[in-house]
Amino acid sequence: MVTTIALHLHIPEPVSRPGTEADFSWVEVPAAGSVRRPEPTAADEDTRDLPYTLIRVLDEDGRAQGPWTPRLTGDQLHQGLRAMMLTRVFDDRLFRAHRQGKTSFYMKSTGEEAIGAAPSLALDPHDMCFPTYRVLSWLMARGYPLENLVNQIFSNAKDPLKGRQLPVLYSARDYGFYSLSGNVGSRFGHAVGWSMASAYRGDTRIALGYIGEGSTAEGDFHEALTFASVYRAPVILCVTNNQWAISSYAGIAGAEATTFAARAVAYGIPGLRVDGNDFLAVWAAIEWAAARARGNCGPTLIELFTYRAAGHSTSDDPTRYRPADEAARWPLGDPIERLKTHLVARGDWDDERHAALARTLDEEVRTAVRQGEAVGTLGKSKPPAREMFEGVFASPDWRVLEQLRESGL
């Protein structure tokens, strides 16, 4: 006998909202070092457990554990720590600059600093990253001049993008950082195409693409995975799962049903799920995927599991949609604190040196901001307005030339 029941429309809803306590009891945290590490040349079938666990290296005491432990020098770790701390100081100061009316917009990456910094240092200088707006630490790790960032954020006369772009939508080709745009997801396929071009030429460079977990819902994500899989593109595709897409929790992007790393399974490529607040684990995963790509074994999808500790942007107030104590209760801690603890445990760092570094970085950022203010903040200084007519085409056509004349600029 067939029973008929009324259908019911399911609408996902997070476990906690403002007014209730943050609840992360659903987050399963395997012990550091407990996940096996197949060889980077492993067949995809030998990696099928990896999307459903969480690769972690640093334990509670800051000690590196297990087969994913990357062999890093003290210098590399110090560089990583510096880049992450610099990102945080810079974010805090420029966020405040927005509140003071010095810019129109800003976005922080608080809590996600390991996600840009570790890959930036782990990959080669000539590899190309196709970023999201939340991987400033990539640039920090490569020593991109702070003045350039500040001038871009202030849209002033020295803005390297000539006032054409919204603040934080940088482009820095020489630092392996592809041009950002305001529309999410749309560069994920560019990473695949860039890496296919490298393979076409018989080059050695590989590409890395970032996308937010919310933006994996866009067709761009699935299209990129299809092409990466079909052509075994030498690309690393990273999903930053920071739990929130503005006010929408990850369940709205499909996290109720499975993990983001598991998206890889259907495309027949490896998917790694990684503790994104563990600098060493992120490094190790990127190193693994890079070895795979460089060995003509094809693409890897990596889910970087983390938490967006700050608001989405200067336009956002997260207390309207999530409990205020969520960031404090995030079970995977703070990436900067965790790397610091590791360095201390290695006998290679202490509170005093940490405080001294913090002071140095604060001064570096202050100096850069002062320089930017001297040139001018938003509206007080800008590149020559007539330059807004340049750069649409390689050489301008009559419309733009006529309009430039008409404008009187």
Partner: protein, 338 residues
């Protein structure tokens, strides 16, 4: 009658339709619990329930595709695309699907969907939070495109759009959400509170699609505008000292051609104003129509005031934005002819 800003008026329209029609539902990015990044759906989920107003994945193509499927079933979905700049991933769904479903199935299926989206500049949004894409929709047979310029019209037009059995693109001038804006960016922001069109009746009423409004009567020239540019044009007319008639098109498809022809027939001069870039803009279509239908009344070449043919540049918002000065200059030029 309560005084409302445009956000409140749009919210009132949605609230009214959710209450009246169980088949009406809302979804889009961040519209549910949070109430939308511009607050247009604030409180609707709490008032009407989770399945009447809920968050969508960040997939504009998916949003429009599922809305079409729901519409085909018999629902009346109202979806929000967070910024009109982000409607483009859904373009195929709009052009090849929503716009043609009725025609190709010989009326077996149709897509009674409303796609709301904030558009236009003036908020320092840069290249991807400032565009005015109305012309690309106007070009597509089978889509209606509506653009209000004040709270009263916003509510009445949105209710009409939702009740319409065809797909409607409903573009909301985001710079007008909180107050009228005449392009004089260096003056303090105005509030809707002092504006006659901010008196918004309770309950259901419609402003029919395809009916333009004469905002200012005049004899010397006709100015055609919509959305934010209605207010900018009014300021430009005042600056010019020319007795121009100002028509707010309110919807560009369907287009109230009679009101346009009557006015240009009377004045013999025409200035078209839009914020979108000029080449291939909707002003080109308006100009052709006026030329075809009013040629023997025209005393001077038709003038277009529009954005330049470049992407919307962040730092040069006010160099790019076609403000009252450019409207006044075009009016002066159009008065010289003939």
């Amino acid at each position: 009658m309560p005084t409302m800003n445009m956000v409140q008026a749009l919210n009132a329209a949605l609230d009214c339709k959710l209450a009246q029609d169980a088949d009406c539902l809302i979804f889009g990015e961040d519209v549910g619990y949070f109430g939308g990044v511009f607050r247009v759906t604030e409180g609707l989920q709490a008032r009407h329930g989770r399945k009447r107003c809920f968050d969508a994945p960040i997939s504009e193509g998916g949003i429009i595709a599922t809305a079409i499927g729901m519409g085909a079933f018999g629902l009346r979905p109202v979806v929000e695309i967070q910024f009109a700049d982000y409607i483009l991933p859904a373009f195929d769904q709009l052009v090849s699907e929503a716009a043609r479903l009725r025609y190709r199935s010989n009326g077996e299926f149709w897509a009674p969907i409303t796609v709301r989206s904030p558009y236009g500049g003036g908020i320092f949004g840069g290249q991807t939070h400032s565009q005015s894409p109305e012309a690309i929709f106007a070009h597509v047979t089978g889509l209606k495109t509506v653009i209000p310029s004040n709270p009263f019209d916003a509510k009445g037009l949105l209710i009409a759009a939702i009740e319409d059995d065809d797909p409607v693109i409903f573009l909301e001038p985001k710079r007008l959400y909180n107050g009228p804006f005449d392009g004089r960016h260096d003056r303090p922001a105005a509030s809707w509170a002092d504006h006659a069109a901010a008196e918004v009746p309770d309950g259901r009423y419609v402003v029919p699609l395809g009916s333009a409004a004469v905002v200012r009567e005049g004899e010397a020239a006709t100015v055609l505008a919509y959305g934010t540019m209605v207010h900018v044009a009014l300021a430009g007319i005042a600056d010019s000292g020319i007795d121009a008639e100002l028509i707010d098109l309110r919807s560009i498809v369907p287009l109230d051609i009679e009101t346009i022809v009557d006015s240009v027939g009377k004045t013999g001069r025409c200035v078209i104003v839009h914020e979108a870039s000029r080449f291939g803009g909707f002003g080109g279509e308006l100009s052709a129509l006026v030329q075809e239908r009013c040629f023997y009344h025209l005393e001077a070449p038709i003038e277009r005031v529009a954005g330049y043919d470049i992407p919307y540049p962040h730092a040069f918002e006010w160099d790019y934005f076609p403000g009252p000065r450019r409207v006044a200059a075009a009016l002066a030029r159009v008065m010289e002819g003939g």
